[in-house]
Symmetry: C2
Subunit: 102 residues, 2 copies
DNA sequence: CTTATCCGTAAGCTTCCACTAACCGTAAGC
DNA sequence: GCTTACGGTTAGTGGAAGCTTACGGATAAG
């Protein structure tokens, strides 16, 4: 269950906002901090969490570090959800059928 | 961004375990508590959070309440992830191409 | 070499969350 | 009606997470 990190990372609203901004285009840390209502160190800490969850990648660009979305983390979450997607729909159909018989 | 509830709900390892168990088959509260290393009230609280996030459904069955997966919450998360899925892959391809030119 | 910019890290504080224990309500069985 | 089983709710507590301030490291420019 390695995706626990990814879900925990996306639980924070600030980190969700970071992912949304990086989804539009790659950005530097200070650039992200300017768009968010928190300080730059806070953004840096959030990026560390997102990086540990394989949700973002970083690339050194002079003194700046450009962050971008990492498809790996998103893929893990998608795979986990798909494990229950079919089963949940089957249970749903079964429950509906059972109600129809009564 | 209503999926904030869903992500926050799945951030907890215990709640993830509950979803996994319910993914196998619908269960009652006491049945879940027996499979988890926490007390029954804790399971009840977790189920309330999962229910508010539209991740589980409950059905009264005599004195027992049967909980099962609700596809609604999973669908919201899938939709949110898909918003970045294509874009992330495009950024990935673009970065690879840029490296190739250098 | 010095300065400036950009970023990560450590310490401290505050706030929130998960857990247990105790209680109350409800449905089934005698 | 009484008892038992099953669950939801509340109060209280311990621990974890996020934020800011201050500091240190690395790179580019003068």
């Amino acid at each position: 269950m390695t995706n626990a990190l990814a879900f925990a990372a996306l639980a924070e609203p600030t980190r969700q906002a970071i992912v949304e901004h990086l989804g539009a285009r790659p950005m530097a840390v200070g650039e992200l901090a300017a768009l968010l209502p928190v300080s730059r160190p806070a953004v840096s800490q959030h990026l560390k969490v997102l990086k540990d969850a394989s949700l973002v990648r970083d690339e050194a660009r002079g003194t700046r570090r450009i962050y971008s979305i990492d498809p790996a983390g998103l893929g893990q979450i998608r795979a986990w959800l798909d494990r229950f997607w079919d089963g949940a729909l089957a249970q749903y159909a079964e429950a509906a059928e059972r109600e129809e018989q009564e």
